[in-house]
Symmetry: D4
Subunit: 252 residues, 8 copies
């Protein structure tokens, strides 16, 4: 084992079995060797405290069942995203304690306690019903990362009062994730209403000159509300992960 | 003269000097000849009722003074757009009755009565102060086309209540022109608030991923408010002309 | 009920049961609460006078049947767009009084009287037969919004005389919707021939460097005919809605 | 005054001078009227606690001096960004207590105490020396918003050990802003090393296929490190504002 | 009938039944009326001398059979392009005298003599075997328009001597069509070797950064060989039609 | 000298001084050696019969004067394009027999007889006055290549009858070059009216979504008129050269 | 036969049967004739020493079996790329000595000895498991070209220590191929660590703003590590071929 | 000093002054600390053996003189790129032993012996005279890195025999750098003629649809010659550095 090797080297130095020059030679190369890295990677996992999430896009059902099987056997919590109906159903059949969310296209299975993240709420605001899959992916991810989630839906800017009606939810939130396709204007309005961090998620909802979400992405990058940040198109998972980075800090 | 020629041909038919077959041959080609076209072009100008507008971009001061001089001599109303400071000042010096608007970059000179267009108001809503040159170009154009114009400024969506505060102006308008750069979200909000025609003008205001107005343009084309139409980037003149096409109809 | 609550609050102020300070506190937050919004939203629907239109793209047959079922039960008029053959046939089977238009890909069912919109005609000019689905979507939408529609087809600019032959229809129109793919040049020609509002709809018809309608979209945005406005690629519905915003004004 | 008007209306209800029906009519329209909006806007400013920042790009020296003059007279703290040398020097000459930072292209003048934001540190990591103007804009903005800032420079990924050498600074940070041009890879590496929020700022540094920062922007949006968020190209101000939204929460 | 009407009008003028003023009124509007247009359109067809070509892309088998059936009944020559295997086979089954070319994806049926076009040869040079469908579409189109066609294949620039080996064919040609995907370099080399007109056709052959033919298209538009002209991606038909415009002139 | 070497080699074979095997070895490598190439290049120049044209863009006045000086000394005809005012005036001062055309930005000087190209006319149709520099570059190039040129200007499609009025010029032409910016629609209309070759030149005239001529370029590539070919943006020279390749054939 | 013809010509010169002038005439045209080219092409194949590789994309199973059959019969080594499961299985069934690699989507069959290329190692570093198909295509290609290949996988930059752990493999390599999708940052880090040639392969792995590999491609072209070169998206074959060009030199 | 510290730590372990546990704690963190990194960076510089090159773009003359002054004082060899005339002249005036190359826009000053790199030649082939600045930047860089450079110029593919005439130079080269703008076709032809590594450099030479070098870049990425690699637009320095990585290997 690696820590053993390091310990062994130092013991040899201590005992005189290895010269200082020779030990220096080996230690200088440490960053290139397995030992330090393994330790640090482990350390990083501990510090980030996040379970591995399985990106289901492009994976076969067999691959997914193998990966999930290993993780289940290890007693870990499972979150798989971007599953089509067949893949999701297959996982649900194999592990009936888990839950396949057809809208979000996620499979989740909780075996271990979720990390404690305090009482800050992550609000997920969703412009239209077509944006729901991305919003739900964000919600399920955030919950599996241990956060309290609140969701408001169908608050697109063409009916601005629907959003304004959710003023209390907006005020309660510690972080707001805003999910919108088409022109992607919702984060600008939300960013003007709240003082907390706002993470914008463009979706590929739309057609023609939406260019698969580019219009929404550009809209959000050019938001006239100061301090709105953006993730990749349809990246509900990434937004939730970013929100988790923020919200977890609040508890420390 | 062309009408003369047509008259002459018919007189020859009448008198038997030209056979019907030969007259048919000539008449069949009419659309390719000067006479019909000149008539029709004249007719079109009458029907559209709009003064020629001088696009100043890329024209030298000499060219501008020559063109304006001809039009002034003809007793026509003048509107020149996209003038830099030197060009505008030069025109103002040459024709002190005219007015060079430094913000709008337009020169206007009224010699004849403006066309009567009734009492519908064109409301021009402008997201930010940087969008003002485009909004003012639209305003000056609409006024020169004979319309009553109302302007509201600095009503960007990141401070949504500033827009909502103009509810009465929005309700009064016969047509609304919405001018916005950056994410171009304002037309979506306005389109949801009013039932009248909404014309969106993206501006090149912004930097980086605004790509000279593309972000705003795409946002407006993908507006989630139904029935919002769009003109070219920075095209305040075009928006006013489109509004004029609409508003004038209301008086007929 | 919300209006009830507002009334109740005022009654309490009147009766002294609530202090002015406390009432002010609540009223100041009105825009964030349900009551005002619901009222206003209702108001907006009344003012816009438009039926909800169902965007069928990406919805399952089950979802469509559920939504249409609710609306039919409510006695409302139905218009669903972007239906594939299976979805359209399914709706037609379920509600045989309705009509599925295979070319337009729309399903319409009239239960209530259409809104009165006067006698202005919306002319829909279509460049090629491949553009017909978009033109028909516009036509069916405009009709369901209560307008008289006239259609001319196959008047692409490469056979300019075919368009010129429809001079009378062009002169009759209160608004013209121009639908074209490929180079999208038709609106420029039409915009030069008529003085009424012209709404251009680029279609995704073409291949290679048409880039799914971008060529036509750019062509229309750069139209040399002043005052032509543009909607999103393939957005026949949006063009009809914009035309409705204009044409309805003429009757008021 | 607006609050006065609201108070007056309620007093009239209380006294019977205004009927409940008539009061309801006025209150229903509140979101469209000045009073509520002004209150809320004021409220928003209080909640966000942020000074107005002047975007100097495209403003003349005269405009800048006028705006700054008003704000100085109001006793407010000043931050102006995107100033060229002439503008910055002019402001520094006019208000010698302020500081024009030539690299950052900002002018700052502190008159009032900065907001208290606790002891979380915002770390600004900058890939190359050419990215410094953007990093410095972020740093000056963050400081003027009351935050403690730490900066590490020239830690581009082609010399990965230079970054690794700053391990302690990375561990100390409450939020990390990563500024990089060219391929924009630095945020991915940083996002893998730390568990705190990471905000990526693409810069327009580069040439050819960097396309004015698009390459870096796309790289950051596609970061393989989960939960990295992105702002517009060269938007150091926006990144600092987003970091402020996050870091301030930690103190509440 | 229209010609009849025109004749009738002139007869009335001749007979005095219609005044010259009233006849002028009607004639002035001629371009807007059916008569002139129909005549001219007919005239145009005669002048261009080209059969109607059926673009099969996006047409159903039923639509194709209907259109072809009408044309066959009229004794016309048939050329249909962009047919998939099912459509082509169906046409071939229905009209066994015709020929479905699986590579070119065209169906052709000659019923009438082809137009005489003299002895100029159209040479079609094709860079790689994957470009053959486009080259064959061009070849079949050119032949159906009455031209002599010569084909050379697999002469991509990475094996430049393969092209040079066809020197005689290049010297013989009256027009050269060059079909190439990927980097689209072949037209530049050919354009430097021959003095006759060169028409470049980019194909969508390639992957990744070929972007469906954009790379080849841009390469051809930027050809360093003077006087190379370009058609749309995969537009073998258009290239042949352009070559026909040129080659036919040589016989007149 | 190279021909000498070849002759010498053959003489040695004839005299037996070189073996056939050794001669074959050298001859097989011919295409890599100077001699063959020089001959062929010369041959190509003769066949193409075109003077060298100097692309002035990016060249200093000194470089231009040097190049022109050499060519003048050689008695050749001179055509230089893309000259700014300073460069053009400098050339005109140095060679007063030449002509600097300020609009076309070309300098031409005829010393030798132009090539005889028969009586076919190249018609250059120009959509707007802003497109004139490109049209004039084409006209001057075509004339220097020995062709008869006819020009029609300001025939944009928004005033379609202006174009139709030039029917006779269109019928007279052997080749038509169509120059247009903005939406680039003119070639489609012209292509439908004439049967001769049509070469479309997009110009960078326009702003906003014209993207420096991309809109016009795409419009032309997607022309619904069959057989229109396209050259690079603003490439008047290339269009004239392509027209020359075509028109010269007609005389052979 | 061509060499025969050349020999015959020289013999006729030798014997006086052909004059030197006439022989010169024919030889001058050599580059345009079959003989020289065939020889040279053969020569080129010998010099490059590389087997023909079959690009399977877009080829039918029948086409593939025909091509492979011919090559097998010729005793050549076979490498086919971009095969789907059906195609690969079919080839494997037909030639059971060959190997279909499902991940790499390649079929290889060695019949002849591989070229000797010395002992330099080509290291293929792969950022994520999704990039494996491209990395494996490169590996299989390099092996079939005779090279020793070493592979390291899952060394994405978000876990930088995983890469650093492979320091010895990096030091051993003669050439490094780096395969990465998403932000494509890995080549920059590798390029900073090693002094040997680095070839970057962007993959189409990713979604949204990865734009099918454009983000990775741009990242690699803008690498801040000096001297990194790039091939097309997903072009594992091309990278291996480039590496082969380099590595083979080392043995010469 | 860092090595000292490491030595000191080991001595303390040896002497028992530090426990193994505490030493392990410190050593585990090594990659994050200065010592290891400095060593490795130094090591990397030694291994890569390359002088620092100064990218002059965007640096002021003062900055350049400071940087160069430091390096000159250190006795190092100097290469600065992307210098405008003023900057280059200023450096040449300050250090008259150095050489400012106006075409290449580089300043070089050799003080120390260049690295020995054996006798492999780097051939730099340049398509047109406008591409010379990039080709010369590559040549000067390669020479300063110790390589023998050969240059061939004006061998664009529209005059293919000019390239073929350089067959011997192509055969001599150990690496070929191909510099081309416009359609960027030259590397494909060269890649087919030689078996050695080919590095393609697109230049921004061109106008219109060359899009500042994108056309050439795409052409090169899609080269039909296998194993051509590409660097950023105008990146002559990078190509030379990549060639140096390759050529240096040949001597080891």
């Amino acid at each position: 084992m690696n820590q053993q090797e390091l310990k062994h080297l130092l013991e040899e130095v201590q005992s005189g079995g290895t010269s200082i020059k020779s030990a220096m030679e080996r230690l200088r190369r440490l960053p290139f060797e397995d030992v330090g890295v393994a330790l640090i990677d482990h350390h990083r996992e501990l510090r980030q405290g996040t379970p591995e999430v399985i990106f289901g896009g492009g994976k076969s059902i067999e691959q997914l069942r193998t990966i999930v099987g290993h993780m289940v056997a290890g007693g870990r919590n499972i979150l798989a995203t971007r599953l089509d109906d067949d893949a999701g159903t297959s996982l649900e059949n194999a592990w009936p304690d888990g839950c396949f969310d057809r809208v979000a296209r996620t499979f989740s299975l909780q075996q271990a306690p979720l990390p404690a993240t305090g009482d800050g709420t992550i609000l997920i605001a969703c412009a239209g019903t077509s944006d729901l899959p991305v919003a739900k992916e964000a919600a399920n991810t955030a919950r599996m990362l241990g956060h309290t989630v609140e969701e408001v839906t169908d608050v697109g800017v063409a009916g601005i009062h629907r959003l304004l009606a959710h003023g209390e939810a907006l005020e309660r939130a510690a972080v707001v994730i805003v999910v919108a396709g088409m022109e992607g204007a919702l984060p600008s309005v939300v960013g003007g209403l709240v003082a907390v961090p706002v993470i914008a998620v463009p979706t590929s909802v739309g057609y023609g000159a939406s260019f698969g979400g580019i219009a929404a992405l550009l809209g959000m990058l050019n938001s006239c509300a100061a301090g709105v940040t953006v993730v990749n198109i349809d990246n509900g998972f990434g937004a939730a992960f970013a929100a988790s980075r923020i919200n977890r800090r609040l508890q420390e």
